[in-house]
Symmetry: D2
Subunit: 449 residues, 4 copies
């Protein structure tokens, strides 16, 4: 059976992921993501109203014109998890394909919300839920799609595996190897090892190279949790304001924040549009069991009303968890820093960034400015209470050991970013151009012909 | 009562700490340390055989000639904990003073061993043990010396407090604010808050500025422990060699390594001269309760015999904990990296650095070289599994809040290193030259005249 | 005679410089500057309309309330050169003092323009021109003010020296030691050495510590000029657009750009409000002799008209020198990057940044964004073609050797920034708190009483 | 005609360069270099006595076993210039090939000296001199070898061009684009542009990617010269010791040092084994015209004798130019720093590093230590007076514009290091795997079959 892989997006940058695998006549697409930074550099751009082609020209969504060179029918569009760089282009591109979107329940829910927000295109592809551990038949040539449970900085993430007569194609984006992930199940390494050893083994492994230049092992979410616990418990005796911020989609982190707030005698409350969106969705789908009295407010008016209530009832009784961990100009924490909300910061109040600064100068500038403005109001800053959601080098090493793939395709980075992974693979005997394929956007790799 | 403080050593650098406080006619000396880097830059220098004056000229030990200007009698020499930069000059300088060395039991034991190793001077000062929480009368003018329990990267560390009629002098070197320190009691913040409010309050606080330019809160040892647990548990299925290294004097870290080794089915064994020294001492003094079968070997012959036994019985059954976390040329791990021990590294063997690289170019070069040599033998590196033993800025902020000192003296850094602490103090209303005293070595500060 | 120095502004930061020296009954103020970054962090702030007290609260201008503690009459306000951090608060503070502003001709002209732009206060102090090498009597107790020629990144800079019966006070802000400064005379080291040896010598030296942590010697402007020549000559054969940007007030750099533009067959043209202001002023005062046909345009309309003409007559015939070297959001180059001007960039067009990026995250973010936008239009970037205007450590060393001051006050940096200078002085035998005075804003230092 | 390229060494690292080009039946080898860092990491290794295979195993010299897969006869071994990473393996590998070494006169002389020093192998290949601008026929199928003059940090460097019926193969290692190189002719860009446009154009360009991640244009040697002039002239009045160090093989820099020494009234003298070797060779071959009285001494005894003479006649009359710019443990400057030579440093003496620190931790550690030891003796340090010998991104851009190659092979870096060049090529329309070939050591690239 012919096996071909189209590396469509995210092979020269982080963001706008898209990869297609053809096995015989059947094609499966993995991810359709958005590169938000390509949008934000322009003033006054509203993606919701833009046409795909303009977004492709801007480098914001994958250029899927290469799909016409793949001789087969798209059978499924499979986003691996709910982050924008993996689902953000579905509302712009999916309608071109006569195929369902297949994903885990949490991811499907986020895809649905995104499609509802779209104002330019009507996307009517079926949305099909499949959980980790389950399998689906693709086409009629003996190809199967399996979801293996993985751990990432968002819940319900999986790695899809396409079982073909020629061996398995494992699409490894995005994951950390976490055995104690706080919410959800540990990564299913047992299944990966089986896949590496059963049948024809692994024909090809496509790897998440986000942290390919970082040494060691990415710590478990449990380590971030203990770090966060240490920070919040150390504030137990403080009788002023404490504010926390983290990635809205990071449900396990939000869960820890909510729990530790209770532990130190404060009422947690989630504030900001995307805080409400992700946590609300996770709760509705029963991924988490938040306390009954946990408030979540997204609209500015209800947020400000909540802030007023907090000021009236005493800041020392609350722990607002807000958006704005990167100093985004319009996020809640930045508004607080500029004194634009009813919440007043006093000398000694604590602001907890349970996130790292994304290392890009524009971003670093905004974050720095937010911290300066907070500091000018007397706030004390606690930052970098976080662990990455992506494998470091020793995770990559362990995955190679588990899967023993015949071919490898590094993804999710530019050449510089993935260089550490190429070095690692070369150390394990792979060779560039032979079985180690450094690709670029819009490229076709023929594995079996 | 006249109160004067002599900032003798460690006020322009890290290392060779020494401070004297005169209260009326009585003088207490805090710390007498060694700056090892000033020795190591020269080839073939043996401190054990050197004269004090030469070591003073090299900048290796404090220049205590300023002591002659202090009109009073030295009543006690008080090292705060057992690190070399706090006790390493006792064998060279203490004999000049007719006063006992007063310290906690673990520290006294290390001082004793150091004096025994000295080959130039005979030090015969009394060695007096006093535990955290205890108090001793100094002279006959109503001055008391108290030990407050603190948490640091070595056990049995205290902050000495000199209670004078003019208020308390709190000598704050070295500590982290740790409420879950793995071994020993949490930092006694309750007592610090009392001292800040009782009697005349705190006349002067001398602060450990090692991390004065670092934001946030230093995590608890418990966070390092959970990080380490995550790393070692992730290797549970590996059936080859695993080697770990950490600071020999870091008893709580060694304890965690020993415990997790057992958890993953391996026999821990401590190797290297200083590994044996510190862990052996801690065990003899009942600070830790290691497993009965824990081997500790210091002499090269017994270490190599142990390595041979490990190779015979199977590397997969052992976890050697060795010296060499900074790539020191003659340490055990560096010898292993150069293939000079019977322990043979294979592809995929794991080396765990539970330490950070001390950021100094000579050191970074050695550590890099050790890692390269380990890598050339196939070893996989896990590093930076560590937390600092020193307060970050938010710890400093909390200490100021607890003590409300009338005067502050930053210590344990050069001017650049302590600048962040000066900024913090200025933000809290202190003023350079008025109540915030940036000092230098060999300086006298008159607080009450 | 009593000698006292008030370190009013710029002793805890870079910006808003202000220092007062009292000699007997006479007071001279050196510099009255603005810290622009403290203004820009707030949205929608217009300094021209603001009250001094609000600007003091923001940390934007010096807090001169300490002046009331100086018992003497202000005889002169002496800005050393025309940069905003040295003259920018004159329009807000000078009217409080019954004293003339005394400065070199170019500086006086810039002060005059600044006062004219002020909309809140009427500043009516006399503006007195005095050139480098000249001297003026201050009060009637035998005090003289001398201007010594120095070299900096703006023309007509001096170091004022106050000759008192107790020795000279040398105010050393801001300078580089340049023997080949392209425009103007070399630094007058001969005079500094004389001052160091005549009469009572130098009682006090106040030093520009901007680069106190940088090794070696700051290169001459001539080195930047040769670097710039190399860059522009290398483009001689390019037949598309070339655009350059630099500090508008950097007349010698602008002169080199104008000259090299001619050399490679292009018509230079200066564009942007401050480009027109500084270069126009320098030309009117005969500091430079620009070609007769050199266009300078400040208003947006005339700039855009010029861009249209350039597009019509062929980009390959022009070299626009524009504002925007730091990616400032409203500067000309940023407008070009956003496609908001008639000048169209094509693939391969060259943009020359004859400036370094000011190392502050907000700024780095803006500059990065400008470069990205330029790059998206195909522009090629040449940056860091620049030398600093401030002494590095070896310049400081040479100044100490020339002046042999009895007292030293480091200025123009925060504690971290000036730490390298303190180390250097300590190495030369000075001692903190004795003759080396690390000060803070609003502090008084009594030198002779 | 079949055209094939074997990327043998230096495609995964910097050092041990080797590339072979087959055109029909004829093969030409470009460079045979040594990676010295792979040797130095081991203690006590003497390359002169080692076998090729051991050196290959260490990664020190190219693994040329792939040559057996190239079906053709080696007609020439062509080192591009005399640096060790380009000629250092000739003495270990050249004897395996029945072909002459063809190089420019200076390079040939260095090859000859290297062969003479070899103690394991007898290398008897013919050594053929060919100058820049000349051409030689290779085999009998119409292939020509041309040397195009380029500019690098060593004199007499060329880029070899193999003219085949299928187009030219341009081997672009190592160069900077210098129009004012101080010694020798400017880079021959006119010829490169002709080659890009004549006949079949350029079939393949192999590029020096050392600085592929650096923006802008590498400055001319003339810029370093003016920088150096500025530094040395600024010391004209100093009446103590001045010492300079630079790369021994950097003849133009040594020439500038010699000239400026004279200008400031000092007698230059070249000290250290490799100082004598390279400068002596350059003088004998008439590349430079040093003053008649310029001393060059290599053996330790004669160096120490010279130092004694300098001390006797007065340090203020000399400028020793010595080895040791990287703090190499056994180099002359390091010996001076350790006080192991008769030259005594005094407070204020100047040490000029006309070199940058090679950014590798081991090296940075050694250099740091050398500077610390020099500083402990009172020396003042001037460093980073240097420009790179390699193209930055805008040089790469200009080369692409000149040559318009059909295929590109990045070389002389690992993947991370060359990533900036790949980005640049992709921006110019090249595509990975199609006409942009990222290779690895031991790989074959078939260009025409």
């Amino acid at each position: 059976m012919e096996i071909e892989i189209a590396t469509i997006g995210g092979y020269e940058e982080v963001g706008r992921q898209m990869t297609a695998v053809r096995a015989g006549n059947d094609v499966v697409i993995f991810d359709m993501g958005l590169n938000l930074s390509k949008v934000l550099i322009h003033d006054n751009v509203e993606t919701e109203r833009m046409h795909s082609l303009d977004l492709i020209d801007m480098g914001a969504i994958p250029d899927d014109r290469i799909m016409s060179e793949l001789e087969g029918d798209v059978q499924a569009i499979v986003p691996t998890h709910g982050h924008l760089d993996h689902i953000g282009a579905i509302s712009k591109l999916a309608h071109r394909y006569n195929a369902p979107v297949v994903a885990t329940p949490f991811t499907i829910e986020l895809v649905k919300q995104q499609i509802e927000g779209e104002q330019k295109f009507g996307v009517e592809n079926d949305l099909v839920k499949m959980s980790a551990g389950e399998t689906m038949t693709i086409g009629d040539e003996g190809v199967e799609l399996e979801f293996v449970n993985v751990t990432h900085s968002i819940i319900d993430a999986i790695n899809p595996v396409l079982h073909t007569p020629e061996g398995a194609i494992v699409y490894g984006l995005d994951k950390r190897m976490d055995h104690t992930p706080v919410v959800g199940d540990p990564i299913d390494m047992k299944r990966f090892r089986e896949i590496g050893r059963e049948g024809e083994g692994v024909l090809c492994y496509i790897e998440d190279c986000t942290n390919a230049n970082k040494k060691g092992r990415t710590p478990s979410e449990n380590v971030a949790r203990e770090h966060l616990r240490d920070v919040l418990y150390s504030m137990e005796d403080y009788d002023g304001g404490i504010v926390a911020t983290t990635f809205s989609s990071h449900i396990s982190r939000v869960t820890s924040l909510v729990e530790f707030a209770k532990d130190i005698g404060r009422q947690p409350v989630l504030l900001g549009r995307s805080m409400e969106k992700y946590s609300g969705t996770a709760e509705r789908l029963d991924f988490v069991d938040f306390p009954d009295d946990l408030g979540m407010f997204g609209h500015r008016k209800s947020v400000d009303r909540t802030f007023k209530r907090i000021m009236n009832e005493g800041k020392e009784n609350f722990l607002p968890v807000v958006t704005g961990h990167q100093g985004e100009p319009r996020a809640m924490l930045t508004r607080m820093a500029r004194g634009e909300t009813p919440y007043e910061l006093d000398d000694g109040d604590k602001v907890v960034f349970s996130a790292r600064v994304i290392p890009e100068p524009t971003n670093e500038g905004q974050r720095y400015q937010a911290e300066r403005l907070l500091g000018m109001q007397g706030a004390r800053i606690y930052d970098e209470i976080h662990v990455s959601g992506h494998l470091n080098q020793e995770g990559h090493y362990t995955m190679l050991d588990a899967l023993e793939p015949q071919n490898i395709i590094p993804a999710h980075q530019d050449l510089k970013g993935l260089s550490g992974y190429v070095n690692l693979c070369q150390g394990e005997g792979y060779k560039l151009g032979r079985d180690l394929h450094v690709s670029s956007n819009g490229n076709l790799i023929q594995l079996v012909d």
